[in-house]
Amino acid sequence: METIIEALVALFLLIGAAFALVGSIGLAKLPDFFMRLHGPTKATTLGVGGMIVGSVLYFSTRGEGLSLHELLVTLFLFITAPVSAHMLAKAALHLRLRTVERTRGEGALPRGDAE
């Protein structure tokens, strides 16, 4: 039983870490601001979610009852991540940041046409 739990915890941690890694690589490598915004707001949130599931599993199976603190973390993450992503995107739109051609949308200008 314990081995299965540990394996599951490890699995969720790994999944979480993988998403976080992908999100961080995206933040570093993607070509324009609007693309980079996806990394920390989506992938990394999912990564944290994976780790939280692992944490719930781990602490709930130590005989001290169900651990639900993590749900609060999830809740606040769900509140803060969209708000900050929205604010960042609004700021970027207002400042008319340069974009690559593939990025489409109202207000987003292709690279070179900025200003």
Partner: protein, 930 residues
């Protein structure tokens, strides 16, 4: 105990007349008179014991560790002065009722008069020298207020300032002298000091001590060369001059001479300092008095001269001279106060005090003239009046002064000369005012004053006559009691008779009387001569000039030290810290005996992040937003470090403080220029870098020194006592609200004051705010994005609930008023940020000033409440109560205190941030009206 009432009745009663003035002027005067009268009754109740030779002492420790006790002493000398203060005080209250005009604020006058009376009584009844000094300074302050009573007049303001500067400065010197005296004798109690004369006079510090104490006494009693403040203090209303500047306050200096007479007198130094100053003052005052055309000026210089006479008597140092000195204090108080009041009546009825315009008033006010003549005769030393008796004793003592060797003929000669001038100015006072031709240029027809205005003068004049004719039946017991406690030993034999046979003192009196009249007859020639010799000696101009120069020098010094550059202050601060740490660490072994521990990867990483982001903040300080982000990284790592080292309370506090600080800085950045120019030169950058590195290294060295030594802390005590003593298991919180509750009270008070200060500074501030960012792009139109405001609103009740939870559990688990207050503040500020100042103010109409003040009030009242249960301030108590549903619940008084802390923190944080945020409205109103 009732002794202290004598002082506290007028002291606390000083608040009454300003209230009673609403019931009319007479009620106001009655309220003051009743207080003084009650104090006088208490004094008289104690007087039989004093006449029987007892010394009543009352002691109540005040700051015993400093030697300051509230100890009072009633002996003969104290009784005499207290009688003068209260008796003449009552007469002055009656007189002032009629002297003050309808326009003068009478309640304020009586209030300040009572305050002065209390301070004066404090001086004469103090047993503790430090207490005496406290009251001494209080007389300087209250006399400052009284002299400047007519504050619309510049001469009153200047006179008040001069008196305060001179007597206050003398008080400082006296403080030093008294501290030395306490150092020599080991006690500030008079009974000890007075009994240690030999010890004091043999001590190496005796000359310094004596000089310092005498400075205090001489400035207060207007002795040469500090005499010039007294004539300028005559800008005060006449009741004040009669009371302070003739009967009481200026006597404080000679009182001090009398009080410390047994301890300090009897040496050659005492004789030359005190008698020398006294003689100079006696002559100078008497000379100048004759040449003053202003009635009050004449009386002022005459007072200076008589004070010099008394000082000279104490300076001679024999017991008999001291008796004469005490006697002359009584006599001078009676005749000079009545003369001042007479001068006030003349001023009141004619509108002028200039003797060149007055004259012939006998026809209009014979009653007043008679009274004034009796008092003036006493001042001149005419037989059958009280002034004659003490003056005779004075002449006799000058003949027997020691220490003078073959120059001993000089003192009697100078004394006779001064008495001669004294007769001349007394004659002038009477003749120039009541006889001769005149009055000239008087707008109204003079007449007798109101009936009751003359009563105080009549009482005093009657005393002059009674004492002068029947000394043995009137003043003798009081004089004996007062003189005995002045001398501190058995009194020598003296006779208070009027007639002692033909002797040298009588001859000196006769010469003075005859010479004085002749001098008066020659006055016009003398006036001309005087005007030619003394046009340059304007002490006031010199004083004002010196004052202006002192102010200029201190301005320069201040400008040099405090040039307005914050960077410079920071540099000076860090440099001094560096010097202090450096010098104290120099030559000590830094490394202690404890071996180094191991370091784990997580801690090391945290430390590296901390260091790198701190450095990066400095390097990128001109890219403000980036620097701000890096600064918040520093704060976060510090909070995490607190968690790492098991300090959850600190971590929570640090986190919330970080948020508030970053918000504050964001607001500040909005108003700052968008680009920071590079202002520092390379040399300066090197200097600052070296200073910063030095300071950092010193702190590191200190930390290293502490960490490599065995840990000896007081935390064990607190850990043990927290639960049984404070009723809480969260030691940090118990220390904050209980063990060190007084510190916390002080801190929240400072916080509140700082918030009020910032609020005051922001009032009316108009900052130019940029309409575009650094690259010329305008700000976004959408100031309050929908998602943020929509999300933040439901968060508010949640956050408030959390903060309440943190507040309530704080006594036993991490939390408490401070953290809860910060959490609430952050939640409320979020509303400001998300929805704007206008929106939030409409929905949160709290007055943050009142909120802050109520927090401090709640905390203070919690502390005061423990007095109710006869415990010291801020003693906390706790109780466990059983509640249905909730179970066992702890109630601690410290929780109420914590609520006070909570309210103060919320109030002051929001007071600062909300008002700073409001500036964005003031500077850009058009944005909001859109």
């Amino acid at each position: 105990m009732t002794l202290s009432l004598i002082i506290f009745l007028p002291l606390l009663g000083a608040l009454l007349p300003p209230l009673f003035i609403r019931l009319g002027r007479t009620a106001c005067a009655w309220s003051a008179a009743l207080l003084a009268g009650t104090a006088l009754a208490i004094l008289l109740y104690h007087s039989p014991a004093v006449f029987a030779g007892e010394t009543l002492v009352f002691t109540q420790p005040w700051l015993p560790a400093l030697g300051l006790n509230f100890s009072l002493r009633l002996d003969g000398l104290g009784l005499l002065f207290a009688l003068l203060i209260l008796g003449i005080g009552l007469l002055i209250i009656l007189y002032a009722r009629y002297y003050l005009s309808e326009h003068d604020p009478m309640g304020r006058f009586y209030g300040m008069l009572l305050l002065f009376m209390a301070a004066m009584l404090g001086i004469v009844l103090s047993e503790n020298l430090l207490l005496l000094l406290v009251f001494w300074e209080l007389t300087s302050l209250s006399s400052f207020l009284l002299i400047g009573y007519w504050k619309h007049r510049s001469d009153a303001r200047q006179g008040a300032r001069m008196a305060l500067a001179i007597t206050g400065g003398g008080g400082l010197a006296m403080l030093a002298g008294i501290l030395l005296l306490g150092h020599i004798t080991g006690s500030y109690e008079l009974s000890v000091v007075l009994a240690s004369a030999e010890l004091i006079q043999a001590h190496a510090l005796y000359p310094v001590t004596l000089a310092l104490i005498l400075l205090g006494a001489f400035t207060k009693s207007a002795q040469f060369p500090f005499h010039f403040w007294l004539p300028h203090a005559m800008a005060a209303p006449t009741p004040v001059s009669a009371y302070l500047h003739s009967a009481t306050m200026v006597k404080a200096g000679v009182f001090l001479l009398a009080r410390l007479f047994p301890a300090l007198s009897g040496t050659e130094l005492w004789f030359f300092l005190v008698a020398g100053t006294g003689t100079a003052t006696l002559l100078l005052g008497a000379y100048h008095a004759l040449f003053k055309h202003d009635l009050k000026g004449l009386l002022a210089y005459s007072t200076v001269s008589h004070l010099g006479l008394i000082t000279l008597l104490f300076g001679i140092g024999t017991p008999l001279a001291a008796v004469a000195g005490v006697f002359h204090i009584i006599n001078h108080a009676t005749f000079k106060a009545s003369l001042f009041m007479a001068a006030g009546i003349i001023d009141h009825e004619t509108g002028t005090r200039d003797m060149r315009r007055l004259g012939g008033l006998w026809r209009f006010m014979p009653h007043t003239a008679t009274l004034a003549m009796v008092a003036a005769a006493s001042m001149a030393g005419v037989p059958l009046f009280n002034g004659f008796l003490s003056k005779e004793m004075f002449f006799a003592e000058t003949l027997h002064a020691g220490w003078m060797g073959e120059w001993s003929w000089l003192l009697p000669l100078l004394a006779t000369l001064a008495a001669l001038f004294s007769v001349a100015y007394s004659v002038r006072f009477i003749h120039d005012v009541f006889f001769g031709t005149g009055p000239r240029d008087i707008t109204r027809k003079p007449h007798e004053p109101p009936r009751y205005m003359k009563v105080p003068v009549e009482v005093l004049v009657a005393l002059c006559l009674l004492v002068g004719i029947l000394p043995a039946w009137t003043v003798a017991p009081l004089l004996a009691a007062a003189a005995a406690s002045t001398v501190g030993a058995e009194l020598p034999y003296y006779s208070l008779a009027i007639w002692h046979g033909f002797n040298l003192p009588l001859l000196m009196s006769l010469i003075a009387l005859a010479g004085g009249v002749i001098l008066y007859l020659l006055r016009f020639r003398l006036f001309a001569l005087h005007d030619r010799i003394f046009p340059l000696c304007d002490a006031k101009a010199w004083f004002e000039c010196g004052l202006a120069r002192t102010i200029a020098v201190s301005h320069q010094l201040t400008a040099w030290l405090e040039n307005g550059s914050l960077q410079r202050y920071a540099m000076l601060l860090v440099a001094s810290v560096l010097i202090v740490i450096g010098t104290s660490l120099w030559g000590t072994t830094l490394t202690g005996p404890v071996a180094m521990g191991t370091v784990d990867g997580v801690t090391l990483t945290g430390a590296l992040v901390l260091g790198v982001s701190a450095l990066a903040t400095v390097i990128w300080h001109r890219r403000r937003l980036a620097a701000l982000v890096l600064l918040s990284v520093v704060g976060l790592v510090v909070s995490v470090a607190f968690v790492r080292f098991s300090a959850p309370d600190l971590a929570l506090t640090q986190l919330s403080v970080e948020m508030v600080t970053i918000l504050l800085l964001m607001l500040a950045l909005y108003f700052l220029p968008q680009h920071s120019p590079a202002e520092s030169s390379t040399a300066r950058r090197w200097r600052d870098g070296l200073l910063a590195a030095g300071a950092g290294l010193s702190v590191a060295a200190l930390a290293w020194g502490v960490l490599t030594r065995p840990l000896e802390t007081i935390s064990g005590y607190f850990l043990e006592q927290s639960k049984p003593g404070g009723g809480g298991s969260n030691v940090v919180n118990v220390i904050l609200v209980d063990f060190r509750g007084f510190d916390t009270l002080g801190e929240i008070t400072v916080l509140a004051i700082a918030a009020f200060g910032i609020y005051a500074l922001l009032q009316g501030l108009r900052l130019p705010s940029p309409t575009t960012d650094g690259e010329g792009r305008p700000w976004a139109e959408d100031r309050h994005p929908l998602i943020l405001s929509a999300v933040s609103r439901p968060l508010l009740p949640l956050a408030l609930m959390v903060s309440l939870y943190i507040l309530l559990r704080g006594h036993n688990l991490p939390g408490g008023g401070f953290i809860a207050g910060l959490v609430t503040a952050v939640a409320l500020i979020l509303q400001y940020v998300a929805s704007g100042v206008v929106w939030t103010r409409e929905r949160l109409p709290f007055d943050y000033i009142k909120l802050t003040a109520s927090g401090v009030l709640v905390a203070t009242l919690t502390g005061v409440a423990s007095w109710w249960f006869a415990h010291p301030f801020l003693t906390s108590t706790f109780e466990y109560v059983q509640l249905p549903l909730l179970g066992k619940f702890e109630l601690a008084s410290a929780m109420v205190f914590d609520v006070g802390v909570y309210l103060t923190v919320v109030g002051s944080t929001l007071l600062i941030l909300a008002n700073l945020g409001k500036l964005t409205l003031v500077s850009q109103p058009h944005e909001e009206t859109k």
